[in-house]
Symmetry: C2
Subunit: 168 residues, 2 copies
DNA sequence: TAGAACTCGGATAAAGACTGTCCGAGATCA
DNA sequence: TGATCTCGGACAGTCTTTATCCGAGTTCTA
């Protein structure tokens, strides 16, 4: 691992990237897509990607179908799925900053009855995370698909649809 | 570990909380405060807190003084130190989301020469992190100290100053 | 000026999380 | 009814985080 990567500590699971790309891909298919197909398209370990897709399934973002024509498909239109939902499904929906209430410890401990409100530090950290969540809440899978398509001058999504149809 | 903590994945190092509280405490002292004293006040493991204080020292937020009257002190007025600086010093200054360029892999790989711009997904994630950072950049250590003092009806910071002076 | 005590700093182990993989249960189609 | 394909949860390896210790340097005191 490079020295530059070492500086990255508040890290999101790598699976977040795979899950977002998978959702964009699924938005281009009307039929279920097997996990192995998604893994091949994205160049990721098949079994590990399947694990993350299971998390999306538990979160109600995708639906799984078993059997010969099975696979994963979105449960809702892509315009109704926010990036925040996907990130939280993979990476957990709890706050990144956890206040352990150290103000209630030590020689100057504050009595519990005066700690109804969260600590001022916890409030500031929570406000920052709210800003982060709001930014992701405003972006939908449909938005991401449209932007990726625009970056490729309108060829990327069509190519995905073709590939999915051709390899089934 | 409780089941609730398991849902928290995009986590910040626990030391972020200690570092922020330590900076607030240091803002109330004109003389250096030893790491062991800070650990006692906050009820944290002394050796581990010292490790985080070293990170603050490397980041130029605090200055260390060795010897009998040594300890840590802020290098600047608390109003000139943002919460973001402290968080980045402890938790790393890199982005939480790392794009591994999976668009350049697989059967539909995009040629490298057409990937000058970051992926649309990476752009969305970066925008969210910028919003998070901006929120923390606007809060200074002096702001946090003032809010904590207000929460205690103006008694907390005075108590800290008294305790620091009495135990030296 | 020499000694002693106190401080920081980096190097050193243990625990937990993420990464990666496998095989069994269930469902669909022929 | 059988065979094939799929998902789903259970099973190790590696890495980061947590926690701790002792040595190097500095300051005060005698």
């Amino acid at each position: 691992m490079s020295e530059l990567d070492r500086l990255v500590i508040m890290k999101l699971s790598n699976g977040v990237e795979w899950a977002l790309h998978s959702c964009v891909t699924l938005s281009q298919s009307r039929e279920p897509v097997p996990a192995a197909r998604l893994a091949e398209l994205h160049g990721t370990p098949p079994a590990y990607l399947a694990k993350h897709l299971q998390a999306l399934s538990r979160a109600g973002i995708v639906r799984s179908r078993a059997g010969q024509v099975g696979g994963y498909e979105l449960t809702r239109p892509a315009a109704q799925i926010s990036a925040l939902e996907v990130v939280r499904a993979i990476d957990g929906d709890g706050p990144a900053y956890r206040c352990t209430e150290i103000r209630q410890r030590g020689p100057l401990a504050v009595p519990a009855e005066r700690c109804e409100r969260p600590c001022a530090i916890a409030r500031a950290m929570a406000a920052a995370e709210d800003a982060w969540a709001d930014a992701l809440r405003r972006v939908t899978i449909a938005d991401l698909a449209a932007r990726i398509d625009a970056d490729s001058e309108g060829t990327a999504m069509a190519a995905v649809s073709r590939w999915l149809a051709a390899t089934r």
